[in-house]
């Protein structure tokens, strides 16, 4: 060691070990749970997707057949496109519904704000199946809407009875609260004074929204888009209860592989495809977020 060079040796002091221990204690359980409950199953699905099933048994001979079947069999493509367009339209419908609601609660909710947000959780007091069944009771041939129409001598609305539209409405009903919450949490942190500034500087209200409100709440909106789009893509139950034959989704078909048909390997391949596509969608939406352009402070320290 040459003279004048200061050698710094990190000291593993007692305090250092205490911090390390505390960190392990706090982060450990969560990390372990994620590893066991999320990563392992995911990994096993990836592995299964390259195996083979025969008469309800999995065989570990590696091949790409499952992917070939999935990509060439037209039925799967139809299921997938259906699910994709369903998820897309439900997400857009949720967006249109959620923005005004979230904005209203955040801006004009006053002291009822918290209560109103908690009310968004009210549907979760019962299970999904029950809520969907309730919608069935509303939309079905002898449901509230069509029965009333029939009673007064009007024809029932065919479009509501076991159609993709009915399934779409069901999904919007199920997922709008998530998007409202995501947008609300963003708008509540939005500085409304910036709108006054925009108006003084000549922006009409709609222009101020486009220039200021929308870009500054894009992160929250993007999160809302993701939390609606991804589960809708994989949705099973709603289509099964409300959608009729025209709504059979990718998720329904996937579930079938693990149930009735017992083709676990093909089901796994479908799962992997869904997962990859979802990740791609998240990346796509994520790329639209420019942290500097989001008004998100604390990224840059000049």
């Amino acid at each position: 060691m040459s003279a004048g060079t200061l050698q710094i040796t990190p000291r593993r002091t007692k305090l250092y070990r205490l911090f390390a221990f505390r960190f392990a204690l706090l982060a450990g359980p969560g990390a372990l749970f994620i590893a066991i409950a999320l990563l392992l199953p995911l990994l096993s699905i990836v592995v299964f997707s390259f195996w083979r099933t025969e008469s309800y048994e999995l065989y570990a001979d590696w091949n790409l057949d499952n992917y070939r079947v999935m990509l060439t069999e037209p039925a799967y493509r139809v299921f997938f496109l259906r699910s994709f367009f369903m998820a897309l339209s439900v997400t857009l419908a949720c967006l249109v519904i959620s923005w005004p609601v979230a904005y209203f609660i955040a801006k004009h909710g006053g002291r009822y704000r918290l209560l109103l947000v908690l009310l968004l959780a009210a549907p979760f007091f019962t299970g999904v199946i029950l809520r969907i069944a309730a919608l069935q009771g509303l939309f079905g041939p002898i449901g509230l809407i069509n029965m009333t129409l029939t009673e007064v001598g009007l024809p029932p609305i065919q479009m509501l009875m076991y159609t993709p539209l009915a399934a779409g409405i069901g999904l919007v009903y199920l997922y709008a609260p998530f998007m409202i919450t995501a947008i609300y949490l963003s708008v509540i942190n939005f500085n409304f004074e910036l709108l006054e500034v925009a108006k003084i500087n000549g922006a009409k209200p709609w222009r101020a929204f486009i220039e200021i409100t929308w870009p500054l709440n894009w992160i929250g909106t993007a999160i809302g888009l993701v939390v609606v789009f991804i589960p809708c893509l994989a949705s099973v139950v709603t289509q099964r209860f409300l959608g009729g034959t025209q709504s059979s989704s990718f998720g329904m078909s996937l579930a079938q592989q693990f149930g009735e048909t017992g083709t676990w390997a093909l089901g796994s391949a479908m799962g992997v495809a869904l997962f990859v596509f979802s990740i791609a969608a998240i990346i796509l939406i994520g790329r639209s977020i420019n942290l500097k352009r989001s008004g998100f402070t604390g990224v840059i320290n000049p």
């Binding site: 500085n191 003084i200 009409k204 008004g295």
Partner: protein, 361 residues
């Protein structure tokens, strides 16, 4: 009515039981630097927001450049505004923030760039165009806000305590700068502040506000040297307040009794013997001398003997705190070098007969 850029006609605003702005009349001319000065809650910000169109008035009319804008939203008024907390758009760069008003007015790109270059040069914002607001210092942010407020050359620029969030040194620097922009562009500024020094440094005219009303409106020197009320006298400048009783009114001069001493004051109009009086004397209007040095020059002046308690050195001046015989304290300010007084020394505080501002209390 030529030249009047802003005209307020009995503008009033109530919030529930509180009258925030109480029937204000005001005319502001082209090229004027006008300050609304008052303590918090005096209604000055509400009045500014009414002018901006952010708050509808309950009564009265607002005219900008001869046009009645009372019912117009802010975006129809052709004004600029600068806020205490800057309020730059955090997702836009400096350049985008500054040209925002021009974009809203659909000014073409070439013209926008030209104006941007001009204002950036004027405000010394070069090389900051591409930065985001959170990459700027407080002073830079406020200059950007000013540039945004001025780039479209509005009829009127409103400033709501724009320097309150800046540190002291920067503040006095900006005071001079803001006044320079105003004089250069000849756009009338309406400046709201509770800081009398700011008001005095920058303004042409000042309105002192209290409880939603104008206590006094006038040129700043007028407001300072000739306060129209006890409130203005205490709010603008630093003054001693002596409360006494008029013993004898004798034309313009009156004899006020104060703690057993008699002081010659200029009588407020209509005051009769026995009336309660408030005398307000600015620190710098009081002179102080060693007790022994009486005689020369003190004849015919009000004199209060006392003991020098402390000297608060302020740099250019010093405040001499004098305890009078009965424990009352009075403050005189003077150039510290001119006096070689020591604490505990016996002194005389004196000022011309009839000096200070005297009001019926």
């Amino acid at each position: 009515m030529p030249n009047a850029t802003l005209k307020l006609e009995s503008v009033g605003k109530r919030f529930g039981p509180i009258t925030a702005v109480d029937g204000i009349d005001l005319t502001i001319d082209r090229g004027e630097f006008f300050t609304l000065l008052g303590p918090s809650g005096s209604g000055k910000t509400t009045l500014l927001r009414i002018i901006a169109g952010l708050e509808p008035p309950d009564t009265g009319r607002v005219l900008i450049a001869g046009r009645d804008v009372t019912d117009l939203p802010p975006y129809g008024r052709d004004i600029g505004m600068v806020f205490q907390n800057f309020l730059l758009f955090p997702h836009k760069t400096v350049a985008e923030n500054i040209v925002f008003p021009l974009r809203m007015q659909r000014v073409g790109r070439a013209k926008r760039d030209e104006r941007l270059a001009w204002i950036i040069k004027l405000m010394h914002l070069d090389r900051l165009e591409g930065r985001y607001p959170n990459e700027l210092s407080g002073g830079q942010q406020q200059r950007v806000a000013l540039a945004r407020g001025l780039i479209a050359e509005p009829e009127l620029l409103l400033l709501d305590e724009p320097l309150a969030n800046l540190d002291r040194e920067l503040r006095s620097e900006m005071e001079v700068e803001i006044r320079r922009y105003q004089k250069e562009l000849q756009i009338p500024f309406i400046y709201v502040t509770h800081n009398q020094e700011e008001a005095l440094t920058m303004s042409d005219r000042i309105a002192v506000m209290r409880n939603g009303r104008f206590e006094q409106v006038g040129a700043k020197v007028e407001i300072y040297t000739n306060p129209g009320s006890a409130f203005v006298a205490s709010f603008v400048g630093h003054a001693n307040r002596l409360e006494g009783k008029l013993v004898e009114a004798n034309g313009a001069l009156g004899r006020m009794e104060w703690h057993g001493r008699s002081i010659l004051v200029s009588c407020p109009e209509g005051a009769v013997a026995g009336a309660a009086l408030q005398l307000s004397i600015k620190y710098e209007d009081l002179e102080i001398a060693p007790a022994g040095a009486n005689g020369v020059g003190l004849q015919g002046r009000n004199q209060l003997p006392g003991k020098l308690r402390d000297i608060i050195f302020k740099g250019q001046t010093a405040n001499y705190i004098v305890t009078l015989a009965d424990g009352v304290e009075i403050i005189a300010s003077a150039t510290p070098r001119a006096l070689s007084l020591r604490p505990e020394e016996a002194v005389v505080v004196h000022w011309p007969a009839g000096g200070g501002a005297c009001f019926a209390g």
